[in-house]
Amino acid sequence: MPDTPIDRLARATPSSLARRARGLSDRAIAWVFVTPTILLLLAINIFPLIWTVRLSFTNFAANKPNAEVKWVGLRNYQRILTDPDIWQTMQATAHFLFWTLLLQVVLGFALAWLINRKFRGNDLMTTLIVIPMMLSPAVVGNFWTFLYEPQIGLFNYAVEFFAGIPASSFSMLGSVALAPWAIVIVDTWMWTPFVMLICLAGLRSIPDYIYEAAEVDRASKWRQFWTMTVPMVLPFLMLAVLFRGIENFKMFDLVVQLTGGGPGSTTLLTSIELKREAFEKWRTGYSSAYAIILFVTVFGLASIYVKALNKVKER
């Protein structure tokens, strides 16, 4: 231990005096620094959550603030879980989740794998590819409705040009069969770069010597890919799926602009249904219960998934 005059002086000074001499103690600084953030989180996150839980047991309606509020117990929850319409929105959400995740994982990984060939200009391409995901989903989604216009839209024209199906013969957003795919296409366009970036970080984290060793052992490229590349990128890929899964479960802005839940209820995702219940039908109590159910579902699924992710990481 060093024993300079300063150290000796420091030890000789009573701690209370030392603290005053040095300004606020570390403990005090820690509290001063953390408290405003905690207060804000309590006000904007915790308090509303508790309020939502409370409301979910009542028949409160926000457009009738003066009406008598009745305590209805678990009735809201019961009604939601037995409502066939709710299950239909769950199905629409599941379709959206499954296909966006699948397409984004396949495309994102493939792109990352190609970019990792390190051809000249790969950095520039990466930056350009990433741009769509940083943009406002509502504004971009709104413009996609123009691209999807049956007669004049660029998307339909491209389909006519490359596949020969007349541009005016189909409506991506107006048809019950096509609308669920229209939202999958736009989401995939927007978010494939996200998966790509994370996969690229995974691929770049694999040290070269592993491949060199495999070459020495004469492992085929195919074998190297499946026994080394894929397992080492897997934790990264799973992380990307976790983020995309949570985000798309909450999906609202993009799809509400594209289809608004229609036609019929083919693209009525849970968040859009929630908005209708809460802010159009003003069934505040009922929609609070729905919100809690959604939150618990995401939280539960995410926790299980994170456990699995940690297991993969440990391997």
Binding site: L24, N45, T52, M134, V139, E212, A278, V298, F299
Partner: protein, 313 residues
């Protein structure tokens, strides 16, 4: 290392990869290029079949974006003075008169005020909290961090229900302050999480040296840690700004007039008898361009920001 390496892809495989990636890039950028191009088209050009790739550029979309107009009667048109500038000329040529400036300018300014306000607040509070989490033993630290993260799992609409009621009680509905506080509350989790990562990377030895030199803890934080964390703080700020800039659900539900931001406004731009796509595209261009530029500036820290700091590099 020898000139030939087993891990270096062959020239041919590089070439194929380059072609495929460039193909994807071109396809993926078409919608964005189309937004920018449509902003410079006239109404008829924007809805022609087949879609026009080459066209006579026009500022009609931008003029429509910034003005409210009404159809003029022939007498009115005849009585009008000759156009003084290109704006009048474009409007008169179509037989319209400008009644007032549109709301787009105000909505855009709202986005700027709310975006920068909430970013400043998130960074200010977030840096303090992140420093404390990084350097001191805060009770329940891990729980707090996980809690901060889990607030992002709630769908925005679910949060909006009680916030809507709370703002109505407090008189914060449709105010700049309300939206700034709300976006700060949503962003602060990201800010703390990212900033903690950046501050963790600054060696403690720097501050300890400053403390021995007689700095107080706060001086050491201000004069040693803050300058070191500047790049991290800047990129975190851009992420907060982009989130607040792009946010739609809260803005749509909680603002309608005074504090309405651009994302809920742009989709509501209509012309005479239908959607005015050149004006919508012009608004979208002005709104999206800053983010495109920021994305390019931010490319090194992009990954970290979008994954809450889970993936660094």
């Amino acid at each position: 290392m020898s000139a030939w390496s087993v891990t270096e892809p062959s020239a041919r495989s590089k070439g194929i990869a380059a072609v495929l990636v460039i193909l994807y890039t071109v396809i993926t950028l078409v919608p964005l290029v189309w937004i920018i191009a449509t902003g410079f088209k006239t109404g008829p050009d924007s809805i022609s079949y087949p879609p026009k790739v080459i066209f006579q550029p026009s500022l009609e979309g931008y003029v429509n974006l910034f003005t409210d107009r009404t159809r003029a009667t022939p007498e009115q048109l005849a009585a009008m003075p000759p156009p003084e500038n290109f704006v009048d000329e474009i409007v008169q040529r179509r037989g319209e008169v400008i009644t007032q400036p549109s709301k787009f300018g105000a909505r855009f300014m709202n986005s700027v005020i709310i975006g920068f306000g909430s970013t400043f607040l998130s960074i200010f509070l977030g840096t303090l909290a992140a420093y404390a989490f990084s350097r001191f033993r805060v009770p329940l630290k891990d729980d707090l961090l996980f809690f901060i993260l889990s607030t992002r799992m709630m769908p925005p609409i679910a949060v909006a229900i009680p916030i809507f009621l709370m703002f109505r009680q407090l008189g914060l509905s449709d105010t700049h302050l309300g939206m700034i506080l709300l976006y700060t509350g949503v962003n602060i989790s990201l800010a703390v999480w990212l900033l903690k990562g950046f501050i963790d990377e600054i060696p403690r030895e720097y501050e300890e040296a400053a403390l021995i030199d007689g700095y107080t803890r706060f001086q050491a934080f201000r004069k040693v840690v803050l300058p070191q964390a500047a790049t991290g703080i800047a990129s975190t700020a851009i992420f907060c700004l982009i989130f607040a800039w792009n946010e739609y659900a809260f803005a749509f539900l909680l603002t309608s007039g005074t504090a309405q931001t651009a994302p809920p406004f742009i989709p509501t731009i209509f012309g005479v008898g239908g959607k005015d796509w050149p004006a919508v595209a012009a608004g979208a261009t002005l709104f999206l361009l800053p983010v495109m530029i920021f994305t390019i500036l931010l490319r090194k820290h992009l990954l970290r920001g979008i994954t809450f700091g889970a993936v660094r590099k």
